[in-house]
Symmetry: C2
Subunit: 363 residues, 2 copies
């Protein structure tokens, strides 16, 4: 009568943040791979690329010329997904009740920004000096605070700012120049809304705070913790979907980056630099991912602040090597997300990489 073996037996794990499940098939990592190979990012990008529309002094698609910036640079996206002004949508135009049921629509206004992390074309978060990563955190805070003011004082349609980075061609990033984005919408995006609902439900059922309790448990178990400093913990969540997915959680209750003090800003920069260094070192490649910040809506009410808890998600697609990624396709799209190694195995791989030195700096 043998025991259930989490490293060999299939099971599904529940994600309490988004009320969803993931199928874990740990024995499946052994299958051979004959499919698509990812391109390896050129390790020889120049520090300045005259054809890059994000490098200082170059022209963008709009014709506008970038300033000769020396730290970070924020500008409005030339092809924004949402716009500041558009005609009003009258949903009541639907006199037909079937249309009301099946063509439920909301207008979304807002603004999209690009944030260059550095003037240097060939750097990435792990390769930037710590002070420069602190500048990036500073820029995130500035965006959050300034857009909140714009909403409050000038009536701009800004409710939630989604700050994120797509890195690497595997994650649809079209330019290696280190940069992220911020899409600021008049609606709270669905993934964020789901989390707020779960947080509120948790508090009403158990008192306490979902992420606080979760982090406390993980710090006791120590099976999935990848990094930790005074202010933050990085964990491969029990319910991770992407092979080396991580969650960066603040230890104290900070509802948004606006509440960070200098030490917390530096601690976030430091842990992000260390995490992305581990990622790059894992397969000795510039590790692709999508990552982003989740926090309180802009101009949050006290209740919204009580509910929100600052954290970041990293969703990296690579599975076995620099060129072999996980595809979340057929079964995943139609049935349920599926992964081929356990969260514990992924965490151990990341923990076991020793040192904070980036592999490229050892060459």
């Amino acid at each position: 009568n043998s025991h259930f073996d989490f490293t060999d037996n299939s099971h599904r794990r529940y994600n309490p943040l988004t009320d969803s499940w993931v199928l874990v098939s740990p024995h499946r990592a052994k299958r051979p791979w004959l499919g698509q190979q990812e391109a390896i990012a050129k390790p020889t990008e120049p520090e300045f690329d005259s054809k890059c529309y994000l490098c200082p002094g170059n022209a963008r698609a709009s014709g506008e010329v970038n300033p000769k910036y020396t730290s970070t640079l924020i500008f409005s996206n030339d092809f924004p997904a949402v716009k500041l002004e558009q005609p009003r949508l009258y949903e009541d135009d639907y006199h037909n009740s079937l249309k009301r049921r099946f063509m439920k629509t909301q207008s979304v206004e807002g603004n999209c920004f690009v944030l260059c992390f550095s003037p240097k074309h060939n750097l990435t978060l792990p390769l930037l000096p710590l002070d420069d990563v602190v500048n990036v955190v500073e820029a995130w805070k500035k965006l959050y605070v300034d857009l909140g003011k714009e909403a409050k004082q000038n009536g701009k349609p800004y409710k939630y700012i989604q700050i994120f980075e797509n890195k690497g061609s595997a994650m649809g990033c079209s330019n290696p120049h280190p940069h992220g984005q911020a899409w600021c919408c008049s609606t709270v995006p669905s993934e964020v809304e789901k989390e707020f609902k779960s947080f509120a439900k948790y508090t009403s059922e158990h008192s306490g705070n979902l992420l606080a309790d979760y982090v406390a448990l993980e710090r006791k178990e120590r099976e999935r913790i990848v990094l930790e400093n005074d202010s933050f913990v990085v964990v491969v969540p029990y319910w991770a979907v992407w092979p080396f997915e991580t969650l960066v959680v603040s230890k104290a209750h900070l509802s948004s980056i606006a509440e960070f003090n200098d030490k917390q800003q530096r601690d976030l920069a430091s842990i992000v630099k260390k995490l992305t260094t581990k990622y790059d070192n894992l397969f000795e490649t510039s590790f692709p991912y999508s990552m982003g910040l989740h926090q309180a809506p802009l101009n949050a009410t006290q209740e919204e602040k009580n509910t929100a808890w600052f954290h970041m998600h990293f969703y990296p697609p690579l599975l076995r090597s620099a060129t072999v990624r996980k595809f979340l396709v057929g079964f995943e799209l139609l049935g349920e997300p599926q992964r081929d190694l356990t969260a514990e195995q992924a965490a151990k791989r990341l923990v076991d990489l020793d040192g904070d030195v980036h592999y490229a700096e050892k060459l």
Copy 2:
């Protein structure tokens, strides 16, 4: 005082099947693309490839040799995501109440199958003769019926069978030989479960059936209908996420493929062949996608049969050309799925392609 313009103004649309939203930014299709280019599938695959593990007479990874099949072939996946037997999982092992909250786990048993659509290595659904596509539909039905019997008569842990196809390297498919898969699990996968919930809720609120009412509305509007025959309708759903996503819905209430008569089987084969031909013709390439069948669980109760409604989803990633796809990444993963053209625009593109002849057959 201008009017809201669905082809130029950003909005979100509600998906009543999965209770989720998609952000539509129709003006965004104009932005230039500098990112990853997809590989074009070799149009010159041989009819037989001695290195293909799906071709007749060749050996698979397990060492087993494929029969010299002449129609379809079903065999157990050599690297299944779920297995028939494994030790029992006792969730009650968690005496710690935090563990019970955050490490909610279910054992999943089952079996995974591969279904070769044809012995010919270089064909795909649109290029197969109609009779051969009918054989594929027949094989899907056989899988559904046989596994249901295995569950009922031999106690196999089969609750739901997810039949799907990943096509093209962009969708993680590792072999161009025409084939699909079927993962049969002891649990109902989450995406399917969500739909059942929505269907049941709809019926209790409005009586009638969600998909029946939706199809009736679309047939009246005719703005998003791509194809139609006696038994099925193909529509770009109002809430489509993937650029040329479609939904194939049965007109009559068929809870599963087991209820299809000969005419319905042929009509499904025919409409799938026509749809995939349109897909290939759109960018004159072998169009990648993930697609799959949604239907009642195996050995469904009468209530489950009343709730379920046979349909298929096609999720194709290409956006602008044979080499430029949509990436559902940063904002999509952290915020909300986003698309760059409206469902109506996508439907019109597919409708406007005239004729049923595949572009390769015109060469």
